[in-house]
Symmetry: C2
Subunit: 452 residues, 2 copies
């Protein structure tokens, strides 16, 4: 029936610092390298792209970084976000496990992305930047940054993956409502885009291509900066507000997690949830299993190679050591557009190599089934991305049913699915299928890895 | 810049009673009449349609009605909802006025409708009902009731206005995600639907027609009940949690409202916000102007006749004394589908007649302009319905700029616009126009008023 168990925090309990996991790790992550010299890139190499405050966060060795008051002011619009106990789902699964979920869907953009979009816009504004560029796939990141730049008076140009630009026009409308200009990528506006279009005038685009375009424009123009919505250290850093709040909320619930389960695309939502718990794990205060769920169609952690690769298709970014399926690998179209990225955050890749987290790939039909069960019990319609986390949590809860273990499972629903109803529509009509692991395409892409 | 001013409440401060304004009014509202006998309808007349607990609320003379624990349990999923001070909008308008807004968009269905959908599903479940019917226009109400019935294990059949069924397929998906069955209305499934289809096989439908269909099915089947998302006393009653919370929150903000502004379709959101403040006004504790904003294309309060009319097109409901444009008036298609109803809540109509509230009609382009300015300053994309309230608040704030008055304005954003991006898209492309008041169509419809 109607039982809701919600753990809220006072505004006064909202985190005032972001947590930087790097200094706590037993070994430092390998540095990004300049593609020409193979030397570690320095802050000056990144200066054409990012404001200095973000570059310093990217390489910081401080464990905690103060959240500026102006950012807290905006965070307070929807933070602290609620933590729920999924009692109705537990009952439906008939599991002895306890399932908690942190919900980020109440932000104005409907996902966790504003947690980093807001500080990124703030630091750019603070350094006098009047215009930014970015890429977006399904549009979660583009709309979050459009929201944040609108608040801080910054102009925004977004390159949106052509397939999504055509198929999901409403996300574009959302970005435009907040004042952003949106281009279909590949576009004739950049050298990177023109090169792709010359090869294939009907290219559906990819996140890697869109990054190349947005980076190119920012790099070539003195007073334009670029923003990335995942992958980089400073992005993961900003998302740690999720985990810090969840830690406090679970404490109020009187529970300690046995298993943390999150979805991974570039890694920011997963890192945001898990890093504060990994701190406690490394300090010996708890011992949760920490599990990343990735889509079977784009399994960079479970099937990718751990090596230096580009973050974009055209090879304009520094080389980053990460789990990658090859920078020119174009994943099959699946509905969790936010998880369709060829690589994985270098920091999260490193932590995976250290054995602090594990990874599992799940097919999209299992994820949609889990999402539907979640919606009908918990009442929240999740986006396709967190449906991976939900499917992972359901697997764990059903395993507990077998063993009788009363495990405490913590997961994160990083966005609502109100923009993804066409995908649900197709699932309900039986028109969604699984994608086999694209062995051949990955081998081909991996044969193009940069030499270094 | 980023300044957010939010007033939250502890769960312990969430209202535990609904407020019934009827006993506090200087005169009782005229009763609904049986269309055949012209005698007041009694509880037994309504029993085929509603569970007895709701019928008793419909006619209650108690000032306060306890909210059942099971309902509070679900309310707590998103309540108490936040009250914001719109500082960034105030700055953009350069007004000395203070603008506060109560935000209901964080509910699982994205609007205020679950405030009544949840108790309606609960009382039906409590009386053993296994199946319910309802109508929906754009889909806000249908999806809210689908959410609520999913939680309480009740089957739901929804008749959705054909024009919306075709043009807004995603709302249908949302209802289906929560397990409801959705029919396009007029449908061949009912006598009312077949009669309309015989006249016009391509009828776009209307809310009045869809009500006829849902009522017909419930009335003819012993164990099926019907639910209405606005208009009736018990629906308005359930929505008073909005105003009770806002009253407390404004008190915490240290302010007393000079002007309350809400949008009206059937009246439930407006009543929910304003009734607790009207109680304080009638008690002499404050003296706010209370203003309803309706769409110029469907101005039942400002241009309708105050008389007995049917709530539906086919004439199956009791006769209700209300402001009406005629039960077979079909409003022009505007984007605020939730405000396209020929009548107005009888209780709110009565209160309007008593002079306790005033009404203004605003065209949709002014509403979209206000919504865009709101989105770009406050960061929240409102649904087209509350864009009417926002446009009204902006008018008032700009008037204050002229006079220099530091008025305290309270308004309500009763839902987010994430499902209405196609409408914004058309507005941004210059493809939205105002609709002249349809004098001829209304005269025609008013000539069909029932005799009584």
């Amino acid at each position: 029936m109607g039982e809701t168990v919600k753990y809220i925090l006072d505004e006064a309990e909202m985190p005032t610092q972001w947590y930087n996991i790097v200094p706590d790790l037993p070994a430092p992550p390998p540095p990004p390298l300049h593609p020409g010299t193979h030397e570690p890139v320095g802050p000056e190499d990144l200066a054409p792209l990012f404001p200095m405050a973000l570059i310093l966060q990217e390489v910081s060795s401080d464990s905690y970084i103060d959240i500026p008051g102006e950012v807290l002011d905006v965070y307070r619009q929807w933070r602290p976000s609620p933590l729920y106990r999924a009692r109705r789902l537990e009952k439906a699964l008939d599991t002895p496990a306890k399932i908690y979920y942190k919900y980020e869907g109440t932000s104005p953009a409907g996902s966790h992305k504003p947690n980093t979009a807001v500080p990124q816009a703030f630091y750019n504004a603070q350094e006098g930047i009047k215009k930014m560029t970015t890429e977006t796939g399904a549009g979660q990141w583009g709309s979050a940054l459009a929201y944040a730049t609108a608040l801080f008076g910054i102009e925004l140009e977004v390159w949106q993956v052509a397939a999504s630009f055509e198929q999901k026009p409403y996300r574009k409308s959302m970005m435009e409502i907040w004042g952003a200009t949106v281009h279909s990528s590949p576009s004739p506006l950049t050298a990177a885009g023109r090169a792709i279009l010359e090869d294939d005038p009907n290219s559906p685009g990819s996140l890697g291509i869109a990054i190349s375009e947005a980076v190119e424009v920012a790099a070539q123009t003195e007073d334009i900066r670029y923003a990335l919505g995942s992958v980089l250290n400073h992005v993961l850093l900003h998302q740690t507000v999720i985990g810090e709040e969840a830690l406090l909320q679970l404490e109020k619930a009187g529970d300690t997690p046995d298993v943390l389960i999150g979805c991974v695309g570039g890694g920011s939502n997963f890192a945001g949830l898990s890093f504060p718990f990994l701190r406690e794990k490394m300090a010996g205060n708890m011992a949760p299993v920490v599990r990343a769920i990735e889509p079977a169609a784009c399994p960079s952690m479970t099937r990718g190679v751990y090596t230096y690769d580009f973050g974009d298709t055209a090879g304009m970014t520094p080389l980053m050591k990460m789990h990658t399926l090859g920078h020119d690998f174009v994943p099959d179209p699946i509905h969790a557009g936010g998880l369709r990225y060829h690589g994985m955050s270098p920091l999260l890749s490193h932590i995976y190599e250290l054995g602090l987290v594990e990874a599992v790939a799940i097919d999209q039909t299992e994820c949609f089934e889990g999402a539907l069960q979640f919606a009908r019990t918990e009442g929240i319609v999740p986006a396709p991305e967190p449906s991976h986390a939900i499917a992972g949590a359901i697997r764990e809860a059903l395993a507990c049913k077998e063993t009788g273990e009363e495990k405490v499972i913590l997961t994160a629903v990083c966005g609502h699915g109100h923009f993804d109803l066409a995908a649900y529509d197709r699932f309900l009509s039986g028109d969604i299928e699984d994608h086999e692991y694209p062995e051949g395409k990955v081998s081909e892409a991996l044969s193009h890895l940069p030499s270094w």
